[in-house]
């Protein structure tokens, strides 16, 4: 919280504003609704002052205009963005950007949410005096399966290369040649392989970097959007789901400084096409033939009766579904084995664990037994930010080399697989951890580590070095499952005679012992084999519910698509099942009733009693729906 001593008062276009010391002029201007256009500046990247679009007049100062994106505020500063010099400078720069920019607007996916369009209308010259031929490049260039590059549209703001360098610590994108012939390309023309590559689509202020998955799908004004939570891993980044004509057409970031700071990984961004799959299950099936919900649920109850039951849960099973499943397991299905897809075996934490945003303030970060870029990608980015921008020291405990080793001052303890606990304990007293707070992130080494011992070692180390632990769960709602008591029951479903498979099967296969298989999923997958009963499931884009992320934070989904009959919401199906099985008190009238009951029944779900309102608050639209 900024205190009075830390505030600086200045005047922007005649309006007085007080902002924390160190704020840049372009950010201060936003506070008084003055728009200073920017291309190369991005609030999450280091400022460079390359595009020169944000020129403003500052006094006291030199008589020439200064870039507002590199100049921090000073007490008593007077900034003018609407003098003839500043206005002319901005219009000139925009004209220059347009000199070689192709007239692609009708076919460019960025149109409608394009800062170049918007700024030209708001700050540029009304007519053009450019009639010379423009520079041409071969286009579009596929940078990867998901991203296309159009070099003619590129305004060379270098956001993409800087993002890769500063945030993702990778050098996949580079600029080649110089001067007017500069163009962006991937290193050695290799396809982009990074899991963080998709963010350049959101960063690019023009249509140079576009999503091939969303290519030509829609115009921004044709889409409805809703802020929800990503369902692909335990970090739980805030995402924006966009729909057009009841199809989920794209996923972007909904900036949340508590967790993701505006970045999402490629899993969250591109793995949504299943929702629109034409082979999407919509109608229940029994014995391979279309049926009704009634018949299918009857068949399921009958098929399960008297057999050793195994339940495989999808990694993004919601808290509400977990609550209802736990009610079924408390009653007629007592004794069933439950497996959670993709889970680590890390037990529930003892107390509070480190919050992701607190990584920013850590003086040292220990990452043990986890390839964070694969397990918890956005936490990996947050660690990189703390290390490279905020001076945190980095200690890695892992048998293999990781992407974090690119930091030249990283201290890497190469433990034998399975011996991370001992390595952690040896770190107590190391000079790199002498200054706290220290963050201790630890995972399960993909099954190679004894998580109980490792957890205890992490806690011990934390106690000795003024640190906090962050166990790195992998399944989206692993902590929810732990809270409901459902995560830790089964390592293997072999031996189960009846299997209910909610989502993709845990361990990627149906156990051979299963004589009756019921599948409840959005699509039928090869791993499912030929199940006896098939129930169509709603996807994450249609689900109401909540996940508990690895911090223990309960976050609520917001569906962007309606549930079209004969699809039924999961809670409804579970309640129906419960009624058929004779479970009492399960005839809930709506999702809110489920949530309130869950909040009362399970301590970890207390937050469910207070779900947020259905519509998000409108975000102030200064630059169009997707951020520049």
């Amino acid at each position: 919280m900024p205190d009075g001593d830390n505030l600086v008062t200045l005047t922007i276009d005649g309006q007085t504003v007080s902002v924390p010391r160190g704020t840049l002029i372009v950010e201060a201007a936003k506070k008084v609704s003055v728009e200073v256009p920017v291309f190369c500046y991005h609030h999450k990247l280091d400022p460079v002052g390359a595009c020169r679009l944000c020129l403003v007049e500052i006094s006291p100062g030199p008589p020439k205009p200064q870039t507002g994106c590199t100049t921090p505020v000073a007490e008593g500063m007077v900034v003018r963005t609407n003098t003839a010099m500043a206005v002319g400078a901005r219009a000139d720069i925009l004209e220059y950007e347009l000199v070689n920019h192709p007239l692609d607007c009708p076919v460019c996916d960025k149109g409608g949410e394009c800062p170049l369009q918007d700024y030209t209308f708001r700050h540029g010259y009304p007519t053009s005096r450019i009639d010379a031929p423009r520079l041409h490049f071969k286009k579009p260039i596929p940078l990867s399966e998901k991203i296309a590059l159009d070099r003619e549209r590129c305004v060379l703001c270098y956001r993409c290369t800087r993002y890769y360098d500063e945030i993702a610590w990778e050098q996949e994108l580079t600029a080649e040649q110089r001067g007017i012939h500069t163009f962006i390309s991937s290193q050695f023309d290799q396809p982009l392989r990074s899991i963080f590559s998709g963010n350049i689509i959101d960063l690019c202020p023009v249509g140079a970097l576009t999503s091939r998955v969303w290519r030509f799908e829609s115009r921004p004004w044709d889409m409805d959007h809703t802020a929800s939570v990503c369902s692909k891993c335990a970090v739980g980044c805030s995402v924006m789901l966009w729909q057009r004509r009841n199809q989920l057409v794209r996923v972007t970031s909904h900036e949340n400084d508590e967790i993701d700071e505006g970045w999402i990984c490629d899993r969250g961004r591109f793995d949504y096409t299943e929702v629109n799959d034409p082979k999407r299950l919509r109608v229940p099936q029994v014995g391979g033939r279309d049926s009704t919900w009634d018949s299918a649920l009857e068949a399921l109850v009958a098929g399960v009766g008297g057999k050793k039951l195994g339940i495989s849960l999808r990694q993004d099973v919601t808290n509400e579904e977990l609550f209802l499943v736990s009610r079924l397991l408390a009653g007629p299905w007592r004794g069933a084995r439950v497996a959670l897809q993709r889970r680590t075996r890390i037990p529930a934490p003892d107390g509070d664990t480190l919050r992701i945003r607190d990584l920013d303030d850590c003086k040292a970060i220990v990452v043990a037994a986890s390839d964070t870029a694969d397990d918890v990608p956005i936490v990996n980015l947050r660690v990189k930010k703390a290390v490279s921008k905020r001076g945190a020291r980095l200690v890695i405990v892992n048998p293999d080399n990781l992407d974090l080793d690119r930091w030249p001052y990283a201290f890497h303890v190469r433990n034998e697989p399975g011996k991370a606990a001992g390595a952690l304990l040896e770190l107590a007293g190391h000079e790199l951890l002498s200054e706290g707070p220290v963050a201790i992130l630890w995972g399960d080494g993909h099954g190679t580590e004894d998580v109980v011992a490792l957890g205890a070692a992490a806690q011990q180390l934390a106690a000795r070095v003024n640190g906090s632990v962050m166990p790195l769960y992998r399944s989206t709602n692993e902590r929810g499952a732990l809270a409901a008591g459902l995560a830790a029951t089964a390592d293997d479903l072999e031996g189960c005679e009846a299997l209910i498979c909610f989502g993709p099967p845990a361990f990627s296969r149906i156990p051979s012992s299963a004589r009756f298989v019921a599948v409840w999923d959005t699509v039928l997958r090869p791993e499912h084999g030929s199940p006896d009963v098939v129930l169509p499931a709603v996807s994450f884009a249609e689900t109401q519910g909540s996940y508990t992320n690895l911090e223990g934070r309960v976050q609520f989904l917001r569906p962007v698509l309606p549930v079209e009959p004969p699809l039924r919401e999961s809670w409804e199906v579970l309640c129906d099942l419960g009624l058929r099985l004779g479970v009492g008190g399960i005839d809930f009238l709506g999702i809110f009733h489920v949530q309130r009951a869950a909040a009362e029944a399970i301590a970890g779900f207390a937050a469910l009693a207070d779900p947020p309102p259905p519509q998000p608050e409108p975000t102030p639209v200064m630059y169009g729906p997707a951020r520049p």
């Binding site: 020169r52 679009l53 870039t67 220059y96 001067g179």
Partner: protein
């Protein structure tokens, strides 16, 4: 090589502060250089003077940077923070790429030890132990001479843990550039030195505070540092006796173009360009007149013949709307077309533009294409308006570094004094310069 050919000014000996011993056979060797008094200054500084005293002498001398900006050297040295622990660096800007300038090469080829001595003095004065020479990649001969000279210094222990017995480690490496004019710009040079694309950085922070690898860095031109041995040996007050009030000392001018005796001349600051061009360099060929000259490299605003009596004083040049720059005096006579010359220069700037900032990258290229239209006979009044707009939007802080401003100066100054030639070309597709050339041919 004849001693005469190497010698700088043909004037009186008192102007030979830098080039006094040039022409001595073997001057590039340490033993010969020492016999001429070389390294006496470094020894004096290390053994008898505190770093602050060396700094004070430089301040008293009034020496101003000879790379182009003309900033007071003593003041620049003072920008390095005193109380920041950790390494600090001296970087020598030997990336001489300004068109019309060859003085640094002249210095390095004739007396590489002069530069090395000056760099070591500067390192001692600002508390640095590591020196880098960023040398233009194309400068093969200076590279070989400098490398050999450095090896000699290492053998003698002048580069090492205790030069002349003083406990002040001095280490020096050469880094060769890869062919970019922009890497002569301070911060682009530092980026290139760090192994990145040579593109300028936003300033502040300035290199003195955050330079190479984020450390305080002193960046000086070859000629500036080469003046230090004389200053330390004779004292700053003696140096200040040369030159003018605000431009003390001497400097090397590289005179080229349509003159009878092109070459590098050491002059006392304050002499007129008429003296330099007509007397020292012999003026244009018989029958020709000086039409236009660039007083300080192609980046300096041009001056017409009528202003030949402008002096080489840095402030006076600024007052008349030009600049002393790198001291590269380019002379053009009346048989050549100014518009063509401007086009050629714009092609240089557009080619050398690093591409980081929008106005220089796009404006430079747009200007080149406009010139081509004009010279191809397809010009119009609109093209002159375009050139006018471009030159305005390249200057005054619009660009990230001075390369953009320089391109703007070319257009602006040539249009200011030779607008009639521009209009000839654009509106009537004629060239009076070519007519003049034909008559005299």
């Amino acid at each position: 090589m004849a001693a005469d050919a190497l010698r700088g000014s043909h004037g009186p000996a008192r102007q030979h502060l830098l080039t006094a011993d040039f022409g001595t056979p073997g001057l590039h060797r340490l033993d010969v250089y020492r016999r001429c008094g070389g390294y006496g200054s470094l020894e004096k500084a290390l053994k008898e003077m505190a770093p602050e005293e060396v700094h004070a002498e430089v301040k008293t001398s009034g020496l101003r940077g000879r790379g182009g900006a003309g900033f007071a050297t003593g003041t620049k040295w003072g920008f390095l923070p005193k109380d920041v622990p950790g390494p600090r660096y001296v970087v020598v800007n030997a990336d001489e790429s300004e068109p019309g300038t060859s003085k640094d090469r002249y210095l390095m080829e004739n007396s590489p030890h002069l530069l090395l001595e000056g760099a070591c003095i500067a390192a001692y004065a600002v508390g640095a132990h590591q020196i880098w020479i960023y040398l233009r990649g194309e400068y093969d001969k200076p590279y070989r001479l400098l490398t050999a000279a450095i090896a000699e210094l290492r053998r003698e222990g002048i580069l090492g843990p205790s030069p002349f017995g003083r406990d002040h480690l001095l280490e020096l490496q050469i880094y060769r550039g890869h062919g970019a004019y922009i890497c002569g710009e301070e911060t682009a040079l530092l980026d290139s030195l760090e192994g990145k694309r040579g593109q300028p950085r936003s300033r502040p922070p300035f290199p003195a505070v955050k330079g190479a690898w984020g450390r305080p860095t002193l960046l000086n031109n070859v000629e500036t540092l080469s003046a230090l041995p004389w200053i330390v040996m004779h004292g700053g007050a003696e140096y200040a006796k040369f030159g003018t009030d605000r431009s003390r000392g001497t400097r090397l001018l590289s005179v080229s173009g349509n003159v009878e005796k092109p070459g590098v001349y050491e002059v006392e600051l304050g002499v007129t360009f008429r003296h330099v061009i007509m007397e020292l360099a012999g003026g244009p060929s018989p029958g020709r007149r000086v039409k236009v000259f660039w007083p300080g490299g192609s980046s300096a605003q041009v001056l017409p013949e009528s202003m030949l009596d402008t002096t080489t004083d840095l402030d006076e040049l600024a007052r008349v709307g030009s600049m002393a720059g790198s001291g590269g005096v380019i002379v053009m006579d009346d048989a050549h077309c100014v518009v063509r010359a401007a086009h050629r220069l714009l092609r240089f700037y557009a080619n050398e533009s690093c591409g980081k900032c929008t106005p220089c990258r796009t404006g430079g290229n747009w200007a080149v294409r406009t010139y081509e239209r004009i010279l191809a006979g397809e010009g119009s009044a609109l093209d002159l308006q375009i050139l006018d707009r471009i030159q305005d939007s390249l200057q005054n802080g619009r660009c990230l570094c001075a390369l953009g401003d320089s391109a703007g100066f070319v257009i602006m100054s040539t249009m200011k004094y030779f607008r009639d030639e521009y209009e000839e070309h654009a509106l009537r597709n004629e060239c009076s310069a070519e007519r003049t050339a034909a008559v005299h041919a």
